[in-house]
Amino acid sequence: MATSSRLDARIPQGSLEDKWEKYKSTVPLVNPANKRNIEVIVVGTGLAGASAAATLAEMGYKVKAFCFQDSPRRAHSIAAQGGINAAKNYQNDGDSVHRLFYDTIKGGDYRSREANVHRLAEVSGNIIDQCVAQGVPFAREYGGLLSNRSFGGVQVQRTFYAAGQTGQQLLLGAYSGLQRQVGMGTITMYNRHEMLDVVKIDGKCRGIIARNLVTGELERHSAHAVLLCTGGYGNVFYLSTNAMGSNVTAAWKAHKRGAFFANPCFTQIHPTCIPVSGEHQSKLTLMSESLRNDGRIWVPKKQNDTRPGNEIPEDERDYYLERRYPAFGNLVPRDIASRAAKERCDAGYGVGSSKLAVFLDFSAAFHRYGQGEANKNNITNAPESQILEWGKAVVKEKYGNLFDMYKQITGEDPYEVPMRIYPAVHYTMGGLWVDYNLMTTVPGLYSLGEANFSDHGANRLGASALMQGLADGYFVIPITVGAYLAGEIRTGKISTDHEAFVQTEKEVSDRIQKLITIKGKTSPEVFHRRLGKIMWDKCGMARNEEGLKEAIAEIRALREEFWTDVKVMGKIGDFNPELDKANRVADFIELGELMCIDALTRDESCGGHFREEFQTEEGEALRDDENFMFVSAWEHIATEKWELHKEDLVYDNIKIAQRSYK
């Protein structure tokens, strides 16, 4: 097997530990006078986009930033709950850059690129420094130093957090940096704008076509480099923990203009979400992985047990994660915890009215923390009820907002009865293929954060998404983009009157025109639901050859139907969320087909990709390293036609093993 000649990952020479340091000292630079004449477009203002835009503007580039929300501060990074990893070793528990690197590669089930992941671990500490300097109010101990907690797949405490709102605080930090530059005139912000295509001139990315979502007008914007920081595509499943507006459109347009799409079938199903309550459900809500620090997951030992959780005695409970994985217990990685929950529910042990839920129980934590408070205050004879009260107060401080949210959504009080949880689509490890510089296969077009594929392999560890988004934006792209832009100092201003802009805008305009004139009978929402059902049933937590083949045929039929029967209300030149949605759903349908093709091609199980045909006797994922230790990078050729290019994964610094958390 050899890497396709079309893929050059541009990994620097040298030992793993030296690559990034050496690269930083030798990468071409752009002098300050030239930076002022170089324009960079940043699409998306989540952690990756906001941090990249702010940093590039600080360095002197002219930046234009785009988001579809009404403010850059509302990008969905804001909803990340539990925390951000960094190899600081503040807890003196043996953490190091190498350990974070190793945990991430292993957690990703040996399907990510060594050099990128090591760089991520190297810059992780700087992220925390930067955020603290901005005034991000991380949780602290009484001595005034930063507090840490544990996340899944890891045996050290390296997760920094701000209650259950870490993403919010980090994003507001990056957003404040961005707004500071907006105020200084070095960033022009375009909110309520959606990127609808990439413009290429002579093979290079030279700009974008964006739609003003308030007026409906199409706009041409040119730049010397374009950064897509547009997040993941979990909403292809309709129900996910993503925001309603999260979509694949920007990445998909780039894909159709020549950017290869890598490992599209690698999606993360998060084990602890609030279960679906009915047909009306529009989205799913996560209960942070940090809850697994203190909550214990169990189901009744008896099938179809309908007693409320708090009435089932201790010896009739099956703490199945602790039973199956004693070394990591409730803190096994997400893919493993999700499959274990599905296995129990499929076997008839599920709880709640739908029977598609397991318990996440804090009663032991209430007792443990309450006892700790009693000890701290030298109280030796407190009644159990008092101890539980104190314990609940401690838990409230750690996770109060999550408990409130659970109560609000389910109508049940998790301080009194165990939470019911079930896995849900959460994150996509796949994304646009990028080289070490984060550049896609289109020169000048980059992809950062969840939108690219590079760091998490087949399964992402908890608290690593925030780390990657900010690493890419604050510390990687500001350096690597120089390698390309140093060659652009003579290009000068790029005219948007160029034929390529005219032609691309016309193609976008024609498509919008087509969407609105079909005037069929079915709303975009209904198509989206139908797509989501196909994807969840046949390309979800477990997949098999037969189901995937059916799914591909069904999705193709759905696409045909969409383009003859979609009903889009409203006008083109107007604020029209229905039109925005139709545009996004059309792209999700095409992506769904590619995801199923990718899942069908990968005849192995790894991380979040579980093919039922390939499992061990204990039901664990069975990798095939001999035949599948590669990145699948798909090139779009035509409708229903893609070509697969493979990038071999080479592990020089890690011993490959079957992942074990037992």
């Binding site: 603290v132 109010p137 130093l145 105020g183 309603m244 107007d574």
Partner: protein, 255 residues
């Protein structure tokens, strides 16, 4: 499509764009389930309108888990509806009765012009942050995070202020359409932390000046803002902002 059996009458503000006159339209809605969120109830209304070939109601929403600050409905005379500490997206229909008439309006404030139906323009908030809601530290200039111990109490207070989601409920709740709770939350967060000290004075002056320039009103101490804030941002922050502002003005170099 839903198993619910609540029947509601909705009086919803409809307005084509900023420049045209708006008005209320009434809609009857059946089959609402108490487990639906308020926005899911609006999804059903919109599906019904589309079936009737009518234009669906435009409203801002995104995360639907109470953190992005997009949703902004003024429900029965209260921002985000009847519950305390809850955004519209986290409000569920079990908080209403079968047969209720529910009135839904956009945020009403001169500084928040209506874009369409229930969607308003909150760009003023971003401009206020641009005026001074930051610490001027370029990427790459930070010292080790633990070299600056911060008393837990201060860090916790700063966090409570930083929990603001910039939804604008405070402005909508205030009879003066004042944005002081929003502005003071950011000023407080940074005033409480050592990182914010260097720019403490100039920040207070510039943010308040921008707030005034946007046309937000003044504070007359009714406390409606913090009573209606879905993140329960404390009114104390406004007192702190006033102290910061007066202190800054007394030594002002004329920003």
């Amino acid at each position: 499509m839903s198993a619910g059996n609540m029947r509601l009458t909705l009086k919803v503000w409809r307005q084509s764009n900023t420049d045209t006159q708006g008005g209320f339209e009434s809609y009857n809605l059946d089959g609402v389930s108490p487990d639906m969120s308020f926005l899911e109830m609006f999804d059903i209304l919109n599906e019904q309108l589309i079936e009737e070939n009518k234009e669906p109601v435009a409203f801002d929403h995104d995360c639907r888990e109470g953190i992005c600050g997009s949703c902004s409905m003024f429900i029965n005379g209260r921002p985000h509806g009847p519950l305390k500490g809850v955004t519209t997206c986290q409000l569920h229909m079990r908080s209403f009765q079968d047969g209720d008439t529910i009135t839904v309006e956009p945020w009403r404030a001169g500084a928040f012009p209506v874009i369409k139906d229930l969607v308003v323009d909150r760009d003023g908030f971003d401009r206020i942050i641009s005026a001074g809601g930051f610490v001027s530290v370029n990427t790459g200039n930070a010292q080790d995070a633990n070299s600056l111990p911060i008393p837990k109490e201060n860090a916790d207070d700063a966090f409570s202020a930083a929990a603001c989601i910039a939804c604008g409920a405070c402005v909508a709740a205030c009879k003066n359409a004042s944005a002081m709770l929003f502005v003071s939350a950011k000023i407080s967060q940074l005033a409480l932390l050592p990182q914010g000290q260097a720019e403490r004075n100039i920040r207070a002056e510039k943010m308040v000046a921008q707030m005034d320039a946007e046309g937000f009103g003044n504070c007359t101490n009714t406390h409606a803002c913090s009573a209606e804030c879905p993140k329960e941002i404390s009114f104390e922050n406004i007192a702190r902002m006033n102290r910061e502002y007066i202190g800054a003005k007394s030594s002002s170099k004329g920003v």
